[in-house]
């Protein structure tokens, strides 16, 4: 028995049960449209944070351009569904493919840079994407792209989030993911052990962009309306904050971070004047008292003690 060990079956059931219960509450109106809006935002943020974590947390490549991949995905899905009347799944697939293609194009030249140089280069890329968006008439320019059909439902959202988390955690637990983690740890040693560092950096970047594109598609088909400004520098920083807050290199941390930060800012809406002050204060305190993020590197420990291969070995 390989795939069907106890842990996998239990998680599979848990995933279905959460889906059914939440779906029931949404359909019966117990979760109103305002709360659902926030659930959509949390879901999108989880996808963005987990995919950025692959690039920044695991592979150690400091990227400040993640929102650009999201915007490429969002506009692709917007054009496909609003202008070309395609179904949603084509919108999502197109968004993911286009964003990952952009990831390859940007990754190959910039990933030769390291640390802060890479951060500045990706920041520049994000600005270029934004300015192209502002100046292209076909997608509405600065006024934005309107009348995108609302296809994002609970089912689409939930299974896109599950797929992202599943694929990225499978990836980091494979030898390819191990190579990426090794690059983040020590590039020279990774190279000496036979890891083609450029290839794996571009691979991580492309995969991250792929899922950011999906997040963009979900966003576009929920909010009817897109404008280039929503995917600026601040959006990239927001995603990075979730990743650092949750813990670099921890997928569970990114999920927890996305949920917690959204809930915190939701509660703070009662005090609009002090909202950003308190929010920043919370971030500040977390970073002072828990610099490794709320979950630290707990995924790694989990992987070591009860990871796929180990589980498989014990259950043999």
């Amino acid at each position: 028995m390989k795939l069907f060990n106890k842990k996998n079956i239990l998680s599979f059931l848990a995933v279905l049960i959460i889906y059914a219960i939440a779906g029931f509450f949404i359909n019966t109106g117990f979760i109103d449209s305002y709360i659902f809006l926030n659930i959509v935002l949390i879901g999108i943020n989880i996808i963005l944070a987990v995919s950025l974590n692959l690039i920044t947390g695991f592979t150690g490549q400091f990227s400040l351009g993640h929102a650009a991949f999201m915007s490429i995905g969002a506009y692709t899905a917007g054009i496909l569904t609003a202008k070309l009347d395609q179904p949603f799944w084509i919108g999502i697939a197109g968004a993911a493919l286009f964003a990952s293609f952009a990831g390859i194009i940007i990754g190959i030249p910039t990933l030769r840079l390291k640390g802060d140089y890479l951060a500045i280069a990706t920041l520049g890329f994000a600005e270029i994407v934004k300015i192209i968006g502002l100046n292209t008439e076909y997608i509405g320019g600065a006024t934005g792209l309107n009348d995108i059909p609302r296809y994002t439902t609970w089912t689409w959202l939930y299974f896109c989030v599950v797929a992202t988390v599943l694929f990225i955690s499978n990836f980091v637990k494979s030898y390819k993911g191990r190579a990426c983690i090794a690059i983040g740890e020590d590039e020279i040693a990774a190279e000496a052990m036979g890891v083609n560092t450029t290839y794996y950096k571009v691979l991580a970047f492309t995969l991250g962009a792929f899922f950011a594109g999906i997040a963009g598609a979900l966003y576009a088909n929920y909010f009817y309306f897109l404008k280039p400004d929503s995917f600026g520098f601040m959006k990239s920083i927001d995603i990075l904050v979730i990743v650092v807050f949750g813990g670099m290199g921890s997928i569970k941390g990114s999920i927890a971070g996305a949920i917690l930060l959204s809930v915190i800012s939701l509660f703070l809406q009662g005090i609009p004047e002090l909202r950003m002050v308190v929010y920043s204060l919370i971030l500040f305190l977390i970073m002072v008292y828990r610099p490794q993020g709320i979950m630290g590197k707990s995924d790694f420990k989990f992987f070591k003690k009860r990871g796929v291969v180990n589980v498989y070995h014990q259950s043999k």
Binding site: K2, L3, F167, N170, F171, S174, Y175, K176, G177, R178, A179, I181, A182, E185, D186, I188, A189, A190, E191, A192, M193, G194, V195, N196, T197, L203, G249, K297, F300, K304, K305, V308, V309, Y312, H313
Partner: protein
């Protein structure tokens, strides 16, 4: 037939000739020692052998699986050519477990694609299980089996060295380059390491080149020793010959 040929190899950094006009030929199945005072160019020579630097002039030719010249060396291709190495200042993946460190050594021997890793297709389990079993065996050889889940940074220095050697062996090399394997070890550990290196040479049918300052280790196991000084090769021969070579004594102790 010699498996490594070094032809007139030079490397300069600006005006500094770190390595100049080295010629050597090394036969398979031996343990070769490279010694010399600090700054003699030993590590630069290693970096030339592993593609981290490309030579200013001259070339290195390996004849392990097939003939490869230093013109096509790239650091990440070396394990594919059958060459693995360790580093002078241990370069383990500190936040990864010992077993993961060793598993990384199998990188080039893994053969499943991106889809298999995303979807966990059967080839994922087949490859990972095989590598995992082999990694356990390697750790057993190095007496590290009970520490396999420990983070690399939590191990004492001597054991980190061993993990690094285990990781290099995981790449299934024909030629193993050890950069100061006994640095930071106490005399007992060095003794143990000496036996171990000898044993892995026979067990894995390796050629080993090592840089070392610990003469007891070098004189104990090397069948041939090369002595570097100021980037040039000043002597070579059996440990005994080298020990009595006047130029070597001068390089180490100074002279008129």
């Amino acid at each position: 037939m010699s498996i490594i040929k070094v032809n007139n190899l030079s490397k300069s950094f600006g005006g500094v000739k770190a390595v100049s006009h080295i010629n050597m030929a090394i036969d398979g199945g031996e343990i070769i020692g490279i010694i010399g005072p600090n700054g003699a160019g030993k590590t630069t020579f290693f970096n030339l052998l592993t593609g981290i630097y490309s030579p200013t002039s001259g070339e290195v030719i390996y004849n392990l699986d097939k003939e490869v010249s230093s013109k096509s060396f790239k650091p990440h291709k070396m394990t594919g050519y059958g060459v693995a190495r360790t580093f002078q200042n241990i370069r383990l993946f500190k936040n990864m477990s010992i077993i993961d460190n060793v598993l990384l050594g199998y990188h080039n021997n893994m053969s499943y694609g991106l889809l298999s890793s995303l979807f966990r297709l059967p080839s994922f389990y087949k490859n990972e299980t095989k590598a995992y079993d082999e990694a356990l065996k390697l750790l057993e050889i190095f007496n590290l089996l009970d520490k396999k889940d420990e983070l690399a940074s939590n191990l004492p220095y001597g054991e980190q060295r061993k993990v690094e050697i285990a990781r290099a062996l995981a790449a299934k090399p024909k030629l193993l380059l050890l950069d100061e394997p006994a640095a930071g070890m106490n005399p007992n550990e060095t003794k143990e390491l000496t036996t171990l290196i000898n044993w892995i040479k026979d067990e894995f049918k390796l050629t080993i080149i090592l840089i070392e300052h610990d003469m007891s280790l070098v004189m104990g196991i090397c069948s041939k020793v090369f002595v570097f000084d100021y980037g040039t090769l000043i002597a070579s021969g059996t440990p005994n010959e080298v020990q009595n070579n006047e130029q070597v004594i001068k390089a180490y102790l100074g002279g008129e």
